[in-house]
Symmetry: C2
Subunit: 337 residues, 2 copies
């Protein structure tokens, strides 16, 4: 065995670049790396394992001989090119929203439902960033006490929108500090020193697609249609790492002490919860980490069995690229590719 041919579709984007870094960090057995992107990015180069690699335009023929294709180039690209990649024998791990709710496509967070990978038919969906970090924490509590209802409010970083949103936040912040009026471009309104209760598009219920993703994907990943989730998703002027205020009700009582103990032993979770010493997860300090961080673990005194949690994770890593590479690692380990 001398490794796999791995394509990264959207290799010049925020998630694609992070995928390349994580493949390196994890010493993933890459025989050949194929950075792909739209024709606009053709001719750009990316670095991989000390080599400079030219970015090629993603097209059906690009996937000849590819074993694993990591897609993060938006829904339309995934819809068009994933079937072409599968047709040519690749397994696709898709970071877009294109296939997540397709009953034939596993939607996987390896700490939560790796078993679903055994049923894949060529395409595996990587969940929404804000959903991933929440379910990693919910799962061990669900196993112990069964989660009944979740009320989540998010505080989402601009990196989730892409590199151009990071530049927009920086540019607008400079403009506001210099007394100038920022001109929104990526976002519909100023993001610097502001909050936008608007991520993805609205539907007739008044919810955004981002909110529906958290509601629907949580049930599918956790394998329990009875987990009731309501969500309010908000963009905040933070560069990277999503944060979430999560209120949960369970069927059985879990004390904060027990929750801390369960979570401290859970895969992929770091408990960071010592408020007396001002220790709690904060986005500006957790960029570059692969784990999900949880703190502010408290009893919710308004219900018989309730907890409040504060969850932070690097949305480009655990929320996207790292989760995708974890899936690839599981596939390799279990001969599913």
């Amino acid at each position: 065995m001398n490794g796999y041919n791995v394509a990264v579709v959207g290799a010049t984007g925020a998630v694609g670049r992070t995928m390349l870094r994580i493949l390196e960090e994890q010493s993933f057995p890459v025989k050949r790396i194929l950075p792909l992107a739209s024709s606009r990015s053709e001719g750009q180069t990316v670095e991989f394992m000390g080599c400079t690699v030219r970015v090629e335009e993603a097209k059906p023929s690009s996937f000849e001989g590819v074993d694993i294709a990591l897609f993060s180039a938006g829904k339309d690209v995934s819809l068009t090119l994933s079937p072409e990649a599968v047709k040519r024998g690749a397994v696709v791990i898709d970071n877009s929203n294109a296939f997540r709710m397709d009953p034939d496509v596993p939607l996987v967070v390896p700490e939560v439902n790796p078993q679903d990978l055994h049923k894949h038919r060529g395409i595996i969906a990587n969940p929404n960033c804000s959903t991933i970090q929440m379910v990693v924490v919910l799962k061990p509590i669900h196993d112990r006490a069964r989660v009944k209802r979740v009320v989540v409010s998010t505080y989402q970083a601009v990196s989730g929108t892409g590199l151009e949103a990071i530049e927009e936040l920086k540019l607008q912040s400079r403009q506001v500090l210099e007394g100038q009026k920022p001109e929104p471009s990526v976002y519909p309104h100023q993001i610097a020193f502001n909050l936008l209760p608007h991520i993805d598009v609205f539907d007739d219920t008044g919810y955004t697609m981002e909110e529906w993703k958290m509601i629907r994907e949580t049930k599918k990943i956790m394998g329990d249609e009875n987990i009731a989730v309501t969500a309010t998703t908000v963009r905040v002027p933070v560069l990277n790492c999503h944060s979430e205020s999560v209120n949960i009700e369970t069927y059985e009582k879990v004390t904060p002490e027990e929750a801390r103990r369960i979570l401290a032993g859970a895969p992929g979770v770091v408990v960071m919860d010592d408020p007396a010493n001002k220790v709690y997860p904060m986005p500006a300090y957790l960029s570059g980490k692969n784990e999900v961080f949880v703190g502010r673990i408290r009893e919710d005194f308004t219900v018989p069995c309730g907890l409040n949690l504060w969850i932070v994770a690097d949305n480009l890593r655990k929320g996207a690229a790292y989760n995708a590479v974890q899936i690839a690692e599981y596939l390799v380990k279990n001969n599913l590719v």
Copy 2:
């Protein structure tokens, strides 16, 4: 009637300065304005009605002849000087946490419980900023459908901490943009491009005092000990205006349409809820407004009678100075001073 002698204690602070502006804007019948502060600020001047007025050191004798004293100089100053002001015949409207939960002190939001002002014994407490903007919106819904439980997550601006926190956010933002490492001073951690799930001090339950204020003050202002509130309060890198993601359960069903109608007719509330046209309240655009803005009004499908709301208000105005001046106006109108 030729007006009242009005003292503003803490006149050089963020709330004190706003109190002076609002007394002007509201054409409050001021006979004489007395800007008071600690000895550190003595000799500074403030502007009032086109005049430059010297700030005096606040001491017991300062309150001779004062009719109304607006306090916003912290709990210790309120504990020491409010009784002295009352002894000398002034009515105190106190913005600190010193007397809020004292059963003999009315805790008032004029849109919610003005009747409580008739029982005052010299001191009236102005509620916590994040509580005020929430109860203004909860009250009309409570009157219609009785609020059972509230799960609130806040997104609080740095102006709530004071002028020095505004400067810290600006300075640190410049430093981060220039690639420097910010040195926290006002806050325990970097606030620029970061979130601090920590406002005021923690107690043994893991809650902060800010969270307890929202839980306890809501019951007292609404006059209903059965309203169950749980809260997670978070400082965000926004200069001014607090935002809140509020999930409520009611005993009777209220549709989003009805909630919009009720709130549109409620005093002090502006419904800003047209997501299809990207209209929802945002803190950077609502600084300087006295009303409470509500949008993202949606049904919570996880309970029989639930709503999600997004509430934004200028925390220095409706959350502090404007509410205090509204109380003073009610006192004057009802001969309670």
